[in-house]
């Protein structure tokens, strides 16, 4: 039996784009336990309800996270709409779903790149991010910003996607689809990538269920959990099935996310084929009075929004539960018995978004 020692990991580490600190209790090369220390990105965003009114908070909610920014704004807005009893026009619903799926595309491509960087495949990382820039160009075309859109408002959306824009988007998506097919070959069939990912960080269906994991991380272990099936926005009109794998290792998580890229492209095509004509927003009066909870599917999994209003400008409470927060117990579970050299891969495999988690 070897000697126990504690290896600090983070908060500043080459493989981590964001700070998280883990104390790894090691015995030789094996990890016995990982103790997380978080709070490096904590800003106290939910406390801003005391200073900003509920409309300004849309822009604050979007800045919970720069990657799934649009969906944070959307989730918060939909919670307000539920409290105030606003029914938004159908076209606005379809537009919201379009941007959600574009966000999922850019988030998954970003993650694939970071994963490739994590196992030392630099050129694959660059390739993923080159494709991702095409999606960001579409963001810029439709809303004029690359990451933080600020296109939601209570009662609808601020901008429309015109038929010309739809044509450009579909043409770009055709190119993106071809290019993702190329990198998918490397991710799924390359011998060296397979030997780095297969059998690493295995979680069974029972474990994932007990630890309450969410999103692609849970779906890779066989849990059929996709909030889009709850039927918010345009999803009731769209034909799709949650993508599930049963292996539960890093390779399965990579597989699920690559297949979700094609799913998102397909969903956007269906949305444009079925998009109704009409207004993009309805006028709204009054202040939110009451409380509501909304669950939406983000690129990283299920996010829950809770808002309580009191009929005045300033809200009583806003609470966001983010998918990475749900996945952290799963991450710590995968680390038990893993090698030190696999830690970056394991952290990346949950697609961590620390700024969401700590807010």
């Amino acid at each position: 039996m070897g000697k126990r020692k504690v290896v600090p990991f983070g908060p500043q580490h080459p493989v981590l784009p964001e700070p998280i600190h883990l104390d790894l209790v090691m015995e030789d090369e094996k990890i016995l336990e990982a103790v997380p220390n978080i709070g490096f990105v904590h800003r106290g965003l939910e406390g801003l309800i005391e200073k900003k009114d509920f409309n300004e908070l849309i822009y604050i909610a979007e800045r919970t996270c720069g990657i799934c920014s649009y969906q944070h704004g959307m989730g918060y807005t939909e919670t307000l709409e539920q409290i105030m009893g606003v029914e938004i026009p159908d076209r606005a619903k379809f537009l919201r779903s379009t941007w959600s799926e574009l966000g999922r595309l850019h988030s998954h491509l970003l993650w694939l790149g970071l994963l490739a960087d994590g196992f030392g495949f630099e050129s694959l990382f660059y390739e993923c991010w080159r494709i991702r820039e095409k999606i960001l160009d579409l963001h810029e075309l439709t809303v004029g910003a690359r990451l933080i859109f600020s296109v939601n408002k209570v009662g609808g959306v601020l901008r429309d996607i015109t038929p010309e824009m739809q044509k450009t988007i579909l043409e770009t998506l055709d190119v993106v689809e071809e290019e993702v097919k190329n990198i998918q070959k490397t991710f799924l069939y390359d011998y060296s990538v397979q030997s780095r990912l297969k059998g690493i960080g295995v979680l069974s269906l029972q474990q994932v269920h007990d630890l309450g994991c969410a999103g692609p991380f849970a779906r890779a272990s066989g849990l059929n959990l996709d909030m889009r099936k709850l039927g918010y926005d345009a999803y009731p009109y769209i034909d799709f099935e949650p993508i599930i794998s049963t292996d539960g290792d890093c390779f399965a998580r990579c597989d699920v996310r690559t297949r979700e890229i094609f799913q998102s492209i397909d969903i956007i095509r269906q949305i444009f084929a079925k998009m109704p004509e009409g207004d993009i927003a309805v006028p709204v009066k009054g202040m939110p009075n009451g409380e509501a909870t909304v669950r939406i599917e983000q690129p990283r999994g299920e996010a829950v929004y809770y808002v309580k209003g009191n009929g005045k400008k300033l809200l009583d409470r806003m609470r966001i539960r983010t998918p990475t927060f749900a996945n952290l117990p799963g991450l710590l579970e995968t680390m038990k018995g893993a090698d030190l050299s696999d830690v970056p891969l394991l952290i990346l495999s949950i697609d961590p978004c620390i700024s969401c988690t700590e807010r």
């Binding site: 908060p11 500043q12 580490h13 080459p14 493989v15 784009p17 964001e18 700070p19 709070g39 490096f40 990105v41 904590h42 800003r43 106290g44 965003l45 406390g47 801003l48 200073k51 822009y59 604050i60 800045r63 919970t64 996270c65 720069g66 990657i67 920014s69 970003l110 790149g113 990382f125 660059y126 991010w129 080159r130 991702r132 820039e133 960001l136 690359r146 990451l147 933080i148 978004c353 700024s355 969401c356």
Partner: protein
């Protein structure tokens, strides 16, 4: 950009940013914007870094980390604050846990505006940082030569 003799290395640290500027910094280093053509190289080690790119504001938890990273970097060094949060605290200025911009803890040389800062703006900031680093590096070299010559004259 003037003549650059040295190749400064770059360290990126995420303060309490929302990730937006973070991934824009990474996007700046990838092929489409390719900031590495200015001779810089991204490193994860503060002891080998010359330029510190900091995104996001400072909070009570990461203040020590930022200070430590800055102190570990060898002289001469340049600090670039990327995004409004790193410049002033941005939308999170009023949050109870945010102490302010990066300059509340370490001296900042260059401020890059934007929420999230665009790659073009970040490239501009990096180019200015490379220029400033070259100036400081020259002055540092001159100072060392003067010290040496002065020492010889006295001895």
């Amino acid at each position: 950009m003037g003549k650059v003799k040295n190749s400064p290395w770059l360290l990126h640290y995420d303060g309490s940013s929302c990730n937006g500027c973070d991934i824009e910094v990474l996007a700046t280093l990838t092929p489409l914007y390719d900031a590495e053509r200015f001779g810089i190289e991204n490193t994860g080690d503060p002891m080998q870094a010359d330029i510190l790119l900091i995104t996001g504001g400072i909070n009570t938890q990461n203040q020590e980390v930022v200070r430590q990273l800055y102190n570990q970097m060898p002289r001469p060094k340049v600090v670039v604050a990327v995004g409004v949060c790193a410049c002033t605290g941005g939308v999170f200025k009023d949050c109870y846990n945010v102490l302010g911009g990066a300059d509340s803890t370490i001296p900042v040389d260059i401020y890059v505006p934007g929420c999230a800062a665009r790659p073009q703006a970040i490239i501009d900031g990096i180019v200015k940082a490379v220029e400033l680093f070259q100036k400081r590096s020259d002055r540092h070299d001159r100072y060392e030569i003067e010290q040496k010559e002065g020492g010889n004259a006295n001895g």
